[in-house]
Assembly symmetry: C2
Homo-oligomer: 436 residues x 2
């Protein structure tokens, strides 16, 4: 008997974060961090857990997208899926009628991400490995086969990627040992949400320093005078040797983004994140040229690898930020890692939200072991909330992620959380509704 994928559960999971203004920034003033959460089930009783991340209203649309994409997984032999995850991801995206809704972007792509991520969780569990290790044990050929190369070969061919991966093969074991000993470096965003007042910002910056953080990110982009004052507070507390990053969350046009960067550069900013529209490759390139040596960072809203390819090719970003749930799951994230490594640009994944830290740690650790082979100028975002809802939450030691040891993609959410936070019937939502 061939084991098959026989079912997909889908749960609308929302956390009422808007009640505390955690996660507030210039664009997203009151998010309710949410997950369109899916479970792929097999007829042998195994399950793969995955999700995509949204910030509240509309999570039902991402869930509906995951359902309709997920129908394409039902009935497939489990072996075919977990041993050809590249073919599986391409199969999910190949419905020509659904493709019209993107292509490869927006809600339908968020749904694809949830299902692809669930398949990786299943593959990790069946292999008895955390996903970073499942990836890091693949041959260069297997890694290359994960990627849909259709639109990438003008910049990177599969053969070039293969050669790049082979050059890193001999150092894999040593780097894996280093990773297991020292973990992977992180930075914190928890201090600098825009909704916090100056006193809270100062207190949180001081606490971050005391906790050992050496890279801190602040939200900016609503009011320049406020941002100057807030950056001054943060820089004073961080001292001259810690890193300060700023993030405008897409609020600015190109001319204003340049003005902002010029006004804040004096605070020794490492990167300026999401200065403008996430679709504006040429705009980012213009900003990057104007504000060097401050680096431009984006990618949290880069909706597919064709965008990542262009940001890199145009020299528009000095830091490549990928999102584990906006890209179409692990496969497209791997494509982004290959492109970035070929371009020599560090990948510093977007995290926070619901479970994004849990996912992206796997991607960066794989990148270190098998792709870029470097931790230099690389940090994974860390936000200290909602981890308690995960079966296998991130483990931090100081400002570093420790390697996940549990098989799978660390995506599984606790049953109690599913009961309490399901929208709109979970206990935290009954009779309450969203703040906004």
């Amino acid at each position: 008997m061939t084991a098959r994928i026989t079912g997909l559960d889908a749960v609308d999971l929302r956390f009422p974060t808007s009640r505390e203004l955690d996660g507030s920034d210039a664009m997203n003033e009151a998010p309710d961090y949410s997950a369109a959460y899916v479970v792929l089930r097999t007829d042998e009783g195994h399950s793969g857990h995955g999700f995509t991340f949204t910030i509240g209203r509309g999570n039902e649309l991402a869930l509906a997208a995951a359902r309709v994409v997920g129908e394409r997984a039902i009935g497939l032999p489990v072996d075919d899926v977990v041993h050809d995850l590249g073919g599986f991801a391409r199969h999910l995206a190949a419905d020509s009628q659904l493709r019209w809704l993107g292509p490869d972007k927006g809600t339908i792509h968020l749904g694809t991400a949830a299902v692809v991520n669930a398949a990786w969780d299943l593959a990790g569990k069946l292999a008895g490995k955390p996903v970073w290790k499942l990836l890091a044990d693949m041959s260069p050929r297997q890694i290359v086969d994960l990627v849909d190369w259709r639109y990438l070969t003008d910049v990177l061919t599969p053969d070039d990627a293969l050669e790049m991966l082979r050059r890193q093969e001999s150092g894999r074991a040593e780097r894996e040992a280093h990773l297991r000993r020292h973990g992977y470096p992180a930075y914190t965003t928890s201090a600098g949400w825009l909704g916090y007042d100056d006193a809270k910002l100062a207190r949180l910056c001081r606490e971050a320093v005391e906790a050992g953080w050496d890279s801190v990110k602040l939200k900016v982009g609503a009011n320049l005078d406020d941002d100057v004052r807030r950056c001054r507070i943060a820089r004073e507390i961080l001292g001259p040797h810690r890193r300060l990053m700023i993030d405008a969350n897409q609020t600015l046009g190109v001319p204003d983004a340049i003005r902002w960067a010029e006004a804040l550069a004096g605070f020794d900013v490492w990167w300026f994140e999401e200065p403008t529209s996430p679709d504006d490759v040429l705009g980012h390139a213009a900003i990057a040229e104007a504000i060097a040596p401050v680096k431009v960072a984006t990618g949290e809203h880069a909706h597919n690898v064709v965008m990542v390819k262009q940001f890199l090719a145009a020299g528009a970003i000095g830091i490549c930020q990928i999102d584990a749930c906006r890209l179409g799951g692990v496969n497209e994230a791997v494509a982004a890692l290959l492109l970035a490594a070929a371009a020599g640009v560090p990948v510093c994944p977007h995290a926070g939200g619901v479970g994004l830290c849990e996912l992206v740690q796997h991607l960066s650790m794989f990148d270190y072991v098998a792709v870029s082979g470097s931790m230099e100028n690389r940090v994974v975002e860390y936000v200290d909330h909602l981890h308690e809802h995960f079966v296998d939450p991130v483990r931090m030691r100081g400002a570093r992620y420790l390697v996940p040891e549990t098989p799978g993609y660390s995506a599984e959410i606790r049953p109690g959380t599913l009961r309490r936070f399901t929208f709109p019937d979970g206990e935290v939502w009954r009779g309450v509704g969203s703040r906004t």
Copy 2:
């Protein structure tokens, strides 16, 4: 009493076009042309009709998006909406939680388009004018105020747009008279769907010539030998003076797209449409440089005006194709017309599908009267199907669109069609399902 918007009806409307392979191309092998159709209702009994277009499965997602975006319209005073359609469109897009699902792209943006288009239909009906005329009677300042300028000012400022529009003001009356007399030029795609065999292709090309068409488009991109043979057949029948365009519907990577164009250039191709990923601005720029003087055309899948801005700024397109339902409705289409006119690039809108011809005729006619002021190298796509379902269908004279005279956006669908083609309960769908 202030009249208000009090309701939004939403209908999942699908036509079983896959049964005949109308609309087949290299990417979309068997579409069921569909509309996520909405009706905005006022408490005084007026209604505005709008839709977005999809090709079958997933239309329910676009409809759900239109519903959730449309909730933001309920309760607004009708006067505020129809006299500040720019403010209305910005209000619809300003839900920060929903924005996460795009931003400004994919399913949520398709939903926005349906609602914005419905509001324009309402505004036209209340003003007693077809939308092209409603637009063409606006002052330059009113036109500029329709646009969300946030991400555009690095390329075009509102003041520059104002000046450009003012230069065309004195000629408006003369051009409107010309338009009413002669209509607006069109081209046909009906001859060249990829699913047709050579004999049907030849017959349809001959019929097109006999019907007076002087611009014909062929689908290509699946097999180059086939495409060479099909282009040869078409060019022989068209003779040396009619225009031949080709359309690969995004199937090719950049190197293959260049190879295709080189193999087909001998058939004197005017434009090469959608050679590669619709997100790949730099890829299109590379293709454009390689295949000149054949022009690169794209825009049917350009998901917002930030993409249009870049295609123009990069010199990636010689023909700007806009889509009335993928862009966020009339307002964003107006922004695209302004950017294209400023760049000196002709706009030749994408049409066909369900009712896209009915919509885009208004946009091109407005462009001629008030924006670019020119019909040179400008043609609106025409496909001869599904017009019978519209209350105010396009009227053609030979290869030209005649001006719509009925108030509104020509978007209203006949009640009998709503009954028969509603999915899945209309009579054409009961017990049948989609072919694919």
